[in-house]
């Protein structure tokens, strides 16, 4: 039903981007299906609204009628004949051994230029789906990945046939058509191929149905390892408690700190950290308090996508429906998705796992006029981000994780506490 809700979602999304009210939590009034004219008239653009919920059964016939009408509407909608026009029918052929040159060409060359992960080819590609899916070889056939083929089969767009090598039927023989593959057989053949788990397929197909373009990321292969892990190198990204450097600046600094605290009462060993002396302003007090090292995501080096801990590894690159896609040169992804099966990975990631995952994504610092103005927004956006798709027995929850870097946002400075020369410069209106 996701498609029917889109209009309502779009209408609300512009008003309140942060408020996360999930419309799928609401009830559905299936009687609205009867008013839908998409069954008969595909050009209509209006979509139905949600109904109201009865919280408990009551003895009125009215409620019983509503229920019966809803059921009827649902059966009606489901029972509507779905016609596949032979003109738009797309035929794919299963290639269990991966990409190979066409059999009728008795060529010696082995290479088709297509990665061995592809396992279904479409000799005559047509329709919009091949804009973002598949890969063409030298003979103008389009090869599909197992999840792409599966998605198209489930959609009813693609008919898949057993290959002639297995059935012994010549596929070019017009009189004897190739044997079609059942959807069960397609599941059996395609899922589990080249690292395609059911969880990954669920995520892929869910996003595809919403209109996203989805591709496999370099971290797709669980067994791929990087030669040398640089687990240790990013320890440098942690700030160290401030220490006064040598040289003139250090001397002046020491001098000032002596003036602040002439009797040496400030001690981090036994406290008080800020000392008992004179504080010129609260910002100085806060600066003295900074003794806990924190992680600076901007200082961390980006690591190899394979230098991560499975399953916390980006497996899908996702693009919004509006993004122009060129299959030969994919743009930088808008979202990076790691897929987690909760029945295998039962606990949430450790710091090492989630840290490595985020460090494998490129730096994406908060930029723009709005971000500069709103500190909360900067914090929420973070410096690197990734989406975790947590699949629990078929139910997917997407979680966006970002490196927040609270340490880079000194609240005491942002507040407009007078801090030296910037007394009038840095004042900005308080967020209400």
């Amino acid at each position: 039903m996701a498609d029917a809700d889109e209009e309502a979602i779009r209408a609300t999304s512009t008003e309140a981007p942060q408020i996360e009210t999930d419309l799928s939590d609401e009830t559905q009034d299936f009687r609205l299906l009867n008013h839908l004219n998409f069954l008969s008239d595909t050009s209509s653009s209006s979509l139905p609204r949600r109904g109201e919920k009865d919280f408990e059964p009551n003895p009125t016939e009215f409620q019983a009628d509503v229920l019966a009408a809803s059921r009827g509407a649902m059966h009606n909608a489901l029972g509507h004949p779905r016609i596949h026009h032979p003109k738009t029918q797309v035929i794919g052929i299963y290639a269990p051994d991966g990409p190979a040159p066409p059999p009728e060409l008795k060529v010696d060359e082995k290479g088709t230029g297509v990665s061995p992960e592809y396992c279904v080819y479409v000799p005559v590609p047509k329709g919009q789906y091949f804009k973002t899916m598949g890969r063409a070889d030298r003979w103008n056939r389009v090869w599909l990945l197992p999840e792409e083929a599966m998605y198209l089969i489930e959609r009813g767009t693609l008919d898949i046939k057993w290959p002639s090598e297995l059935t012994g039927i010549d596929e070019n023989d017009v009189n004897e058509p190739a044997i079609p593959m059942s959807i069960q057989a397609a599941y059996a053949c395609l899922l589990g191929r080249s690292g395609l788990t059911l969880e990954r397929y669920t995520v892929f197909t869910g996003l595809k149905r919403l209109g996203y373009a989805v591709t496999r990321a370099p971290g797709w292969d669980d067994n791929a390892q990087v030669n040398e892990s640089k687990n240790e190198s990013n320890k440098k990204a942690y700030t160290q408690p401030q220490q006064r450097g040598p040289g003139l600046a250090g001397i002046i600094g020491r001098c000032f700190s002596w003036l602040d605290d002439p009797f040496g009462t400030s001690s981090t060993a036994a406290g008080p950290v800020v000392g008992c002396g004179i504080h010129r302003n609260y910002a100085a007090v806060y600066r003295k308090l900074a003794i806990i090292p924190w992680y600076d995501p901007a200082a961390a080096e980006t690591r190899d996508p394979l230098d991560t801990d499975v399953p916390f590894r980006v497996v899908f690159h996702v693009y919004k429906p509006s993004t122009p896609i060129k299959k030969s040169a994919w743009p930088a992804p808008e979202f990076r998705i790691a897929v987690v099966n909760t029945r295998e990975q039962t606990s949430i990631p450790t710091l090492a796992q989630v840290g490595a995952l985020l460090e494998s994504t490129p730096l994406d610092p908060p930029r723009g006029e709005k971000m500069d103005r709103l500190m909360y927004m900067r914090l929420r956006h973070g410096y690197r981000n990734v989406v975790l798709a947590v699949v629990d027995q078929g139910v997917t929850s997407f979680l966006r994780i970002s490196d927040a870097a609270f340490g880079k946002e000194k609240l005491y400075e942002a507040k407009g506490v007078p801090t030296g020369p910037k007394r009038h410069g840095n004042f900005r209106p308080k967020k209400r």
Partner: protein, 451 residues
Amino acid sequence: MDTTSPQPKAGPRGKRGARPGRPNYRHIHRHPLPVNVLSVPPVIPHNPLSIISVALSYLTFLISPPRQEVYSAYFDSATSSIHVTDERAIKALWEMGFFGKGTLSRSEPSWLEREKKRRGLLGGSTSEEATRKRRTERRELKLERARVEKLAIEERLKAEAAAKESGDVLPAAEGHTIPGEKFSVKKAMEARYRQSRSQTTPNGDASTPADSPATPNGKSVRFSPVVQEKEVVSSSAASLHLPDSVLDEEEADEAPLENEEHLQVSNEEAFFLVYSLGVLQVYDREENKPIPTSSLFPLLCNHSYFPPRTASAELKPDDPFTMSYVVYHHFRSLGWVVRSGVKFGTDYLLYNRGPVFSHAEFAVIIIPSYSHSYWSETEERREYTTSQQARSWWWLHCVNRVQAQVKKSLVLCYVEVPPPSASSDDIGALLGRYRVREFLLRRWIPNRSRD
């Protein structure tokens, strides 16, 4: 989703600022921390006189250093908690940095004020009263909604029975449901608020919008058994106050009102005030002696377990107190007002400036991390760290959903635990071995992210 979901930042409450009786929080809470700050005249390079004035001010500080007030609190080992009983200290700690919680109040110690108002000694209303009133109103409206719905069903039943008798056919259920729009508690709240405002403003008496009772609306209608039962429960809760308030009024003449409330500061807050700011002195309750900072730290560490560990026990690097203190100190040092997040199922809430100014924007959860090679050296340690780090996905989803509902952003704060150290004498060095990394977690809704 009900229409009555809490809307912390909107709704009738948002207009509270217009009420004239509101105290000047900006002035009351002008000090973010309870330490003295003396501004020094600025140095202007081209004006040599300014240097003299700066030097003079430093000189006066040197000759007669301003005294930093040190407040006192006592540690109660039976409850592992720290209490402040001195009136002045309570006021100072609350006003400058929002430390602690009144033992008889929601947060700000306001029991005495509430009690006075209840006995009619003071005018106005406290925040607790406002909340209670709002909750009562909401409950009433919910009952009203239940009643309206019940009535509609009864009417429908009657109509159906009549139709059966006469053999008519009722309008089909195909169209739309019960006539009129559904009873919305939120809308009713707003209507009631508007009504109370229009009632009070013409009289020029805007200070008592709380006193205008808009409650008696049609109590004579017969409720269904279910609704009636609910009504009994709610009214009995309300009437609980009646008898003792009568009693108190009689007593009020005899005994002068004493403040029975004190401030409880959390162990992290207390240690921050002692160790970081040096403005608090914690006394042992039994011996009535001040506890030095060096022994306060192990004491609080041992008391972060239940039952408390003995003083001779070796300090663990990942005991609950150290972990939460590291996070507390980290966010405090960045200028956040950190308060307990227990009511939203998190470890901390981060307020900008303080709870009286705005709602908390971030809710923090502390998760330990054991990346150091020490922790993976033996099988036993590996097992221990795995169990310490394990949190289920369902737990995470629960917490995340709650935060989304109350419009807070969830912060996962991982604390890197160092291997055990030989000594804990240098607290600063000890704390400096911990490392903090924050992640923001948010639900990502594909439906909404497509643009």
